[in-house]
């Protein structure tokens, strides 16, 4: 990862966090679908990043969101798990011929079909973990599954929308 990439990653991550914290905090479609767009910050890191640094970044990102959500560590539990599971899942769904050096697993780089198999299970796992910890002992399994299902759908839809709108434009400028 060169300096320029590093710089744009940091700014992009910062933007995602600002959007998550100030605009999406109390957004819930039909009372069930929350949006965790800041997960893109973790999910779009380059493929060949080391697991250790991925884990540390995930944990810190989760903590930052927790601080503004007053959730103690619920986001951190989810993001750390995502950080650990990401390399494993990437290895499982690796395309024939492997990944190019320094590729980011984004919609533009990998194509829609592959991207969906990558992002849907990841966001669903995160949502499942998030709602399980959040509603520990207070609500039934159905409620948790219901919320996780719709939250991951909303997150994936927004993730695709964001990339369709901004990633292309950024490329045409560069």
């Amino acid at each position: 990862m060169n300096i320029r990439n590093l710089f744009s990653t940091i700014i992009w991550g910062f933007l995602l966090l600002v959007i998550q914290i100030f605009f999406l905090k109390n957004l819930a479609l039909f009372g069930v679908a929350l949006c965790f767009i800041y997960l893109l910050l973790i999910l779009h890191l380059p493929v060949n990043i080391s697991t250790i640094s991925l884990l540390v970044i995930s944990f810190l990102v989760g903590l930052t969101v927790d601080m503004f959500y007053d959730t103690g560590g619920i986001h951190a539990v989810g993001t750390t798990f995502i950080g650990f599971f990401r390399p494993i899942w990437l290895r499982i769904i690796s395309p024939t011929g492997g990944y190019d050096e320094g590729t980011s697993p984004t919609l533009q780089e990998m194509g829609t079909g592959w991207y969906l198999t990558y992002i849907v299970p990841m966001t669903f796992l995160f949502s499942l973990l998030f709602f399980t910890v959040d509603q520990w002992g207070t609500m039934g399994v159905f409620n948790i599954l219901n919320k996780s299902f719709f939250s991951s759908i909303l997150t994936v839809l927004l993730a695709i929308l964001v990339q369709a709108l901004f990633y292309k434009r950024r490329r045409s400028i560069l």
């Binding site: 905090k25 109390n26 503004f68 560590g73 207070t138």
Partner: protein, 278 residues
């Protein structure tokens, strides 16, 4: 020995993962216990002031609505004041000490809140410097809102009434029957009233207010109106839904209230080994 270290080194990513998860879960558990203190929360200086800037901007758009509500409240208070003055001719009876519980009230503004979780919190722009202490009640002119959990220098974090962990001692105004208000985590407008025995016959539309049995709220602060009454699975109690009168999605200005006799009451409870509900 070297083998063990090599083995551990190979597992380092997994070990780090386990360690971080344990830290995170530990923080969740601490945050959820009523006495626990969160390490990172929105009353911290950086996050507090960021949230304040946001609420300053968004609050601008609801100014006229706030003004209307404040002037309506002013009018109501004026009316009560005039009523008080006309009571001068009535002979004065000294109050005994049981009526002496006096309340300190501080005004504040909500700068951040969550609505969509099972454990919702509120951030308020008043802190220890303004005289806020842990355990103060939060309410608006529309109804009870929550209870202060943690205080920093300039900000404080409260547990919202929309938090499955908070119980508020309350009563039905018309029949003086006591119960506890607890949110069930479903609808942000509706809470449950627990521990109302079956022989009582409350009807939809009855007003529910704070009971004053707990030392957090003074007696008589509005909570909501009864929405529906059903027999519950539990043989002893009714299943009552209460429509909350405070609209949590539009909260802006709030009052913080402290019972100045709370220490005496608490130490008495401790002697008698009673754990208070909030």
């Amino acid at each position: 020995m070297l083998r063990i270290f090599e083995f551990l080194y190979k597992l380092r990513a997994f070990l780090l993962f386990v360690l971080l998860e344990i830290i995170a879960i530990w923080m969740v558990v601490r945050n959820n216990s009523p006495q626990g203190a969160a390490f990172f929360n929105s009353s911290m200086a950086i996050s507090g002031s960021l949230l304040k800037t946001q609420s300053d901007i968004t609050g601008f758009f609801s100014l006229s609505e706030e003004n209307d509500e404040l002037s309506a409240q002013n009018a109501r208070l004026l009316k009560e004041l005039i009523g008080q003055n006309s009571m001068d001719s009535v002979s004065y009876a000294p109050l005994d000490s049981s009526f002496k519980a006096s309340f300190e009230i501080i005004g504040g503004k909500i700068v951040g809140q969550t609505l969509r979780l099972a454990q919702n919190h509120i951030t308020i722009n008043r802190g220890a410097d303004d005289g806020v202490t842990e355990g103060m009640g939060i309410f608006t002119q529309n109804g009870a809102v929550g209870r202060i959990k943690e205080v920093s220098k300039n900000f404080s974090v409260g547990i919202s009434l929309l938090n499955t962990g908070l119980l508020v001692s309350s009563k039905i105004k018309s029949s003086d029957v006591f119960g506890s208000i607890n949110w069930d985590g479903k609808d942000t407008q509706v809470a449950k009233m627990l521990y109302v025995p079956r022989h009582v016959t409350p009807s939809p539309g009855d007003t529910v207010i704070t009971s004053g049995y707990n030392a957090v709220f003074p007696e008589g602060i509005l909570i909501g109106t009864i929405k529906s009454v059903n027999p519950s699975e539990n043989q002893n109690y009714l299943d009552i839904s209460v429509q909350l009168s405070a609209d949590f999605s539009k909260l802006n200005y709030v009052y913080l209230v402290r019972n100045t006799s709370i220490e005496e009451r608490d130490s008495l409870y401790q002697q008698a080994e009673i754990s208070d509900e909030y």
